[in-house]
């Protein structure tokens, strides 16, 4: 177990380095330049001046300066398109927003999704099953911006229950989190249903019922704990989705999260900002995947981790 974790932790920086290099290659090859994108065009001399200031005259100079700064100082450098901002400033102001929104929506997805899945599995073929499956299918068949728009029309313009945008209070978080949660929720509901049905067919469930345990205990203590495993592994991709979807949802609800900065960075070819954002996203997701894998091993002792470590 320790060996497996140690090996995965050793891998982390390597993977991040690969991610950095791939992203850098793609961004560097992309046409366009981060300088003088605003209303006024810059002279060639001014551009060269800026490039020298940002250590971006050539790819060798860029790679010789920035990666080292990141490793030694945790400094992603200045943003090339937001004047006077460093990438660290941008991350500091927007990352907490994105993370809290993402975590809240995953929580919603997990709670509602698994409850719906278990209900559907217990009433297989019944109305509840059909109902939850159709909601789930609709959930994965609409783009998040449409869901967000419908939520605004119903709960904000129509019922005036919740604000249609902004950030700062808990009420601002509810609609965007629900819009973001719908798709992972649909997947989790389907996963839970299938794996519950699978588990409920096993002998140990029949034994538990036969020795007189109440149905509720069997369902939640015996079946659900086993059936939860595939859902647990889905948490990694689900978080990745929540982060991706947050790009869109943040725009609809006007939330000052990281998504808009990444999109702006791409549009302005802001190399340092893109690299910083990608690296932070990748680090978060990799760390989360590692936690999920460790948690999986803790929950399910049948997994032989030693084999994987080879």
């Amino acid at each position: 177990m320790t060996r497996f974790i140690a090996w995965r932790i050793v891998q982390l920086p390597l993977i991040l380095a690969v991610v950095y290099l791939i992203t850098f290659a793609l961004v560097w090859l992309a046409p366009g330049s981060p300088y003088g994108n605003n209303d006024r065009a810059l002279s060639e001399a001014a551009k060269n001046d800026l490039k020298a200031r940002f250590h971006a005259q050539s790819w060798e100079k860029f790679l010789a300066y920035y990666p080292w700064r990141i490793v030694t100082h945790g400094d992603f450098g200045p943003s090339l398109s937001y004047e006077g901002w460093t990438v660290n400033d941008v991350l500091r102001s927007s990352l907490p927003v994105s993370i809290s929104l993402g975590l809240f929506s995953i929580l919603i997805a997990l709670l509602c999704g698994s409850a719906a899945g278990v209900t559907a599995a217990l009433h297989r073929g019944g109305i509840l099953d059909v109902l939850s499956l159709s909601v789930a299918l609709v959930g994965i068949s609409l783009p998040p911006f449409v869901v967000a728009g419908m939520l605004i029309v119903i709960f904000s313009d129509g019922l005036h229950w919740l604000p249609s945008g902004g950030w700062g209070q808990f009420r601002h978080m509810i609609l965007p989190a629900v819009a973001l949660a719908l798709m992972p929720m649909a997947y989790i509901a389907r996963l839970t249903r299938v794996s519950m049905l699978d588990t409920l067919g096993h002998d140990f469930i029949r034994t538990a019922r036969a020795k007189g345990l109440p149905k509720r205990t069997v369902v939640w203590k015996h079946a659900f704990r086993t059936a939860f495993l595939p859902v647990f592994t889905y948490l990694g991709p689900a978080t990745a989705y929540a982060m991706t979807g947050s790009f869109v949802v943040e725009t609809v609800f006007n939330i000052p999260g990281l998504g808009q900065h990444f999109v702006n960075g791409v549009k302005n070819r802001d190399q340092t900002l893109i690299l910083g954002t990608v690296l932070v996203y990748a680090a978060l997701l990799l760390a989360l995947n590692l936690l999920v894998d460790i948690g999986y091993a803790v929950i399910d002792p049948r997994i032989e981790i030693a084999e994987k470590a080879q």
Partner: protein
């Protein structure tokens, strides 16, 4: 050491789980799932047929249905029953929304199919290689898949797109064509991951079955094992995941369009029409609801039908799903 050569990578051989090997014959045995497949399939065929049949009008510059014909005097009109080209209303620039939806359907579905084709080609190759060869190649490919999985989808699509767009534009000498091809490629290039994982898993369990071992023992070369022996047994999962890739890709495109990095105007897709309409449709005063409702309904119905077919196929191909009651 000699032992390792004779039985390559013993540490990787999984428990023989014949149960999890999806059989193609399952489709016939569980015809109960045929209902979902046929309903979804006929909706799809109907929509695709409609979009294709009307192409002569939606692409003909002098037709009222032409997706970019701007009727400047009739912008933002709600749907009107008596003139066919205004059945879905008109856009901000006075284009026929019906024409745009029909032309956009072709592009949206093509994006989905192209992504599915790329994901089949790449995913199956990587999956078979990783699963059958095992060893360092398996580790390398699967780590690559892990890394790509770890990055948010959209992020990769965007990066691929900005990197590929200008070189392709030079080759094709048309920025609109390059935009379209890059969209196909970049969405396709990120959608093979699940396919690769699933196929690898299947190959791992197929590899231990007697008929493959017999073929290997008889001295059949590797490439002859892949095609006639392995591939037919993989048809099930390939069909299922290819079907499920199509709606994913169509959704990806709509997200890209929403962020303003998708398809270039005036070419329409359902996703770009919906995202363009969002602002005007949500306007509290004088809402142009038709700009959102029609493209979204088409998009939703298509994705629903595709997911329906995909789910039906998956249940049909997977005999494990049948049992289980309490």
């Amino acid at each position: 050491m000699t032992n390792q050569i004779r039985n390559p990578k013993p540490e990787l051989s999984p428990k023989p789980e014949t149960n999890s090997v999806i059989r193609a014959s399952g489709l016939i045995r569980h015809s109960g799932f045929g209902f979902r497949i046929s309903i979804g399939g006929s909706i799809l065929a109907f929509l695709l047929g409609l979009c294709l049949v009307t192409l002569p009008w939606t692409l003909h510059a002098s037709s009222n249905f032409y997706y970019d014909r701007q009727h400047t005097d009739s912008a933002l009109l709600p749907p009107q029953g008596h003139t066919p080209w205004m059945w879905f209303g008109t856009s901000k620039l006075g284009q026929s929304l019906l024409g745009q939806c029909l032309a956009g359907g072709v592009i949206s579905l093509t994006i989905g199919l192209a992504a599915a084709a790329i994901s089949v080609a790449l995913g199956v190759t990587v999956g078979i290689l990783a699963g059958y060869r095992g060893g360092w190649l398996d580790s390398l490919l699967m780590r690559l898949v892990d890394i790509l999985y770890a990055l948010p989808y959209i992020l990769l699509v965007i990066l691929f797109k900005i990197a590929l767009e200008s070189p392709l534009g030079k080759i094709l000498r048309s920025s609109a064509a390059a935009n379209l091809v890059v969209l196909f490629l970049s969405i396709g290039l990120v959608s093979w991951l699940t396919m690769a994982r699933v196929i690898r898993g299947q190959v791992l369990s197929l590899r231990t079955l007697p008929f493959i071992e017999a073929a290997r023992a008889a001295g059949v070369p590797q490439h002859r094992i892949f095609l006639p022996h392995l591939l037919p047994n993989l048809v099930g999962p390939i069909t299922v995941y290819a079907t499920l890739t199509v709606p994913q890709a169509i959704l990806q495109e709509s997200l890209l369009s929403f962020l303003g990095i998708g398809i270039q105007k005036p070419l329409p897709t359902w996703g770009s029409l919906a995202s363009d309409g969002l602002g005007l449709a949500l306007a509290p005063v004088a809402s142009c609801w038709w700009l959102l409702v029609f493209p979204c309904t088409l998009l939703g119905v298509t994705l629903l039908a595709l997911n329906f077919v995909g789910d039906g196929l998956r249940d049909a191909f997977d005999p494990k799903r049948e049992a289980a009651h309490i």
